[in-house]
Amino acid sequence: MTRTLLWLIGGLLLGGVIHIVAILTLPLLAEETTWSRISAFKAENRMLVLDRVTQGTPNPLRLDPELSYGVCEIDLSNGPAYLSGVLPDAFWSVAVYDQNGVVIYSTTNRDGIGQTVELGIFNAAQTRLLAQQQIDIADGLLIVEAPTNQLFVLVRLSAPHEAMRSRFEQELSEINCGPRT
């Protein structure tokens, strides 16, 4: 009886190990990830406005139908990336994602930025150069330090009325994204 109990406890412990291994390896084993879905848009260094969500169509990225989304893929190995432009006077937010689909930085225009987006994204080495004043940046640039080079930026823009949405999406697509030329 005791021996059976020991075997049971052994089974439970092994189950715990399987659980931990499954949870930790899942992100590494997944084939269809946020990153693969985003890179399918081929939006390197340009702001691409995603199609609106409508009734009855698949929505794998789980977008909110009320919002407009602009996505831009950046690679910091060629130098720091910048996001700059002017957005309409409505709610908008910027999020920077890494390859795991984790949001490494996010902000909204309610944090006192106003309508102007000026964001610089630097990796660790570039941040060091920045601190040594070896990279010139404009005043008032929001600095984001990224742990990896492969990233994408997502801008969410909310048009208060449907009638404004096309104009807002046009302004969203005019945001500059990518290395400074």
Partner: protein, 191 residues
């Protein structure tokens, strides 16, 4: 013989516990990373730069664009306040308040996240589009049958889930002593 039986038993337990617990942690997740407020579930850690391993697994399974911490929080309800699954054959009343936020949107989706609003209508309701009571409380009718007042008109049949996204919210951020009260979902009638 006995040894083989015990070995098989412990392997069976290990597999069931290991994979069962993992599946539970990433779907329901109540004990692991998810927070439930009445019928609503949210993963508050989903928008943080260093999510815990369970939230990371959840993010991978969804492969969706998560809201960052400062952008907002998404709540999903698959049941009404009495824990019965939401069905398109029935109509529901959403009533109450939401935590402080710049604005919010409400939409209905099926299990694969396809929007279920009736064709020709707005695919989601936005907080600025609804009529409120004098005390700030709101009532939204949800379903395929014609209802008075605020109505999120749906089409189709089967089970669905409600998605309430709060933008720029203090809910579950831990900063304010915010009242994290979410609206209730009450069954009105079924056809």
């Amino acid at each position: 013989m006995r040894f083989v039986l015990r070995l098989l038993l412990s392997i069976a337990i290990a597999l069931t516990v290991g994979f069962g617990l993992s599946y539970y942690a990433l779907t329901d997740g109540r004990l692991f990373g998810a927070v439930t407020l009445g019928p609503w579930t949210a993963w508050p850690d989903a928008g943080s730069p260093a999510p815990n391993p369970y939230t990371r697994g959840h993010l991978t399974r969804e492969a969706a664009l998560q809201l960052g911490r400062s952008e907002g929080l998404q709540f999903v309800a698959t049941t009404d306040s009495d824990n019965a699954p939401l069905k398109l054959e029935c109509s529901y009343l959403l009533a109450g308040h939401v935590p402080v936020s710049a604005f919010w949107t409400l939409s209905a989706v099926d299990a694969t996240w396809v929007n279920l609003a009736a064709p020709g209508t707005d695919p989601a309701l936005r907080s600025s589009e609804i009529v409120r009571e004098t005390d700030g409380m709101f009532r939204v009718h949800i379903g395929t049958r014609l209802r008075p007042g605020n109505w999120l008109e749906l089409a189709g049949e089967g089970e669905f889930q409600l998605v309430l996204t709060l933008y720029d919210t203090t809910a579950l951020s831990g900063f304010a002593s915010s009242d994290a009260s979410m609206p209730s979902i009450t069954l009105e009638q079924c056809s």
